[in-house]
Amino acid sequence: MILEHKKKIEGGKFARIRIVVSDDSLESVRITGDFFLYPEGALEKIEGSLKGSRIPFNEDEAEKRILGVLKEEDAELVGITPKDLAEMIGECLK
């Protein structure tokens, strides 16, 4: 099943999340939008880190995974936060 959620972050940027869901996990996560992130390759790594997340979905856990990728990649995310992204996935599943 494909689910989508889009949001303009207050004082920030616009993002759209599309997830493919199987019975008990996220098969894939696609994040698009007009936010800023560098190095740019960190986005694929963020998406990869969320793949396989269990359902029921744990937003805190997802936020930690995104923060982990940002730290590992020494990446900067501007216009949206890891918490916003995790919450948006949560919204997709509602």
Binding site: R16, T32, D34, F35, F36, P39, E40, E76, G79
Partner: protein, 248 residues
């Protein structure tokens, strides 16, 4: 701060984005001086942010029909229509330490050069975080930035003459349907230099050249043969390819 300054020149979308990346790499390798370049787009083009979905943002069929190129930038940010006559684009490629470490502050520092340029034409503009310049509450300029190996690339557009109907027709915004309401919504959000003064596009370019040069040691120069060759290769192998432009 010593900069190479390259006066306005016209290229296609793929070459414009390839030149930015080639110069970024050359500044990283210290093969090129920190660079400020101005350029226009021929044919008129749409650029999209690195993380945007091409089909989500752009009316691809309309662009194809109208001969408008679509190119994905290496920087984030939103979709932009680069009209051949109606706008001017700049790039600043320089070591990060020339600017604030804080992202929004560094946007503001370069956007202030735009604001000073507009001031010379009698247009009062303000920085609108994160990355825009506004006149009377409407956007006149948007910029996007990335940083790679200690070097900052910021590029952005300054609208001289906006064709709101065309922008509404080519870019989807947050709705998929084109209608008159969308044109009105573009008009509410976007403005251009021509709406606020009688300056010609050449006068706008001169004002920007002056404000971007201020306080810097400037070497007026042209593209190196080698960087043009490298950019042509990158344009044909990356920026003109569907694998890049439609990767999201």
């Amino acid at each position: 701060m010593k900069y190479r300054f390259i006066r306005v020149k016209e290229f296609d979308a793929f070459m414009n984005m390839a030149l930015d990346e080639v110069i970024l790499e050359r500044v990283i390798q210290e093969k090129a001086l920190p660079t400020i370049r101005f350029f226009t787009w021929k044919p008129s083009s749409v650029s999209i942010g690195n993380f945007q979905g091409a089909e989500q943002e752009v009316n691809v069929d309309v662009c194809r029909k109208e001969g408008i190129s679509i190119v994905r930038r290496i920087t984030g940010g939103g979709s932009v229509y680069h009209d051949n006559k109606g706008e001017i684009t700049y790039s600043v490629i320089a070591p990060e330490e020339f600017f604030s470490k804080d992202i929004v502050k560094s946007y503001e520092e370069i956007c202030t050069w735009i604001i000073r340029g507009l001031e010379k034409l009698g247009v009062k503009a303000v920085f609108k975080p994160i990355n825009d310049v506004h006149v009377q509450g409407r956007k006149i300029s948007g910029s996007a930035q990335t940083r790679r190996k200690g070097v900052l690339l910021q590029h952005g557009t300054i609208l001289y003459d906006a064709d709101n109907e065309r922008i509404a027709l080519l870019l989807k915004g947050r709705t998929d349907k084109y209608n008159e309401k969308l044109t009105r919504s573009v008009k509410k959000r976007i403005t251009c230099v021509k709406e606020h003064c009688n300056a010609t596009k050449e006068e706008l370019i001169s004002a920007l050249e002056e404000s971007f040069s201020k306080g810097k040691e400037i070497v007026i120069s042209d593209y190196e043969e080698e960087e043009l060759r490298e950019a042509q290769t990158l344009a044909s192998e990356k920026y003109s390819k569907n694998e890049w432009n439609y990767k999201r």
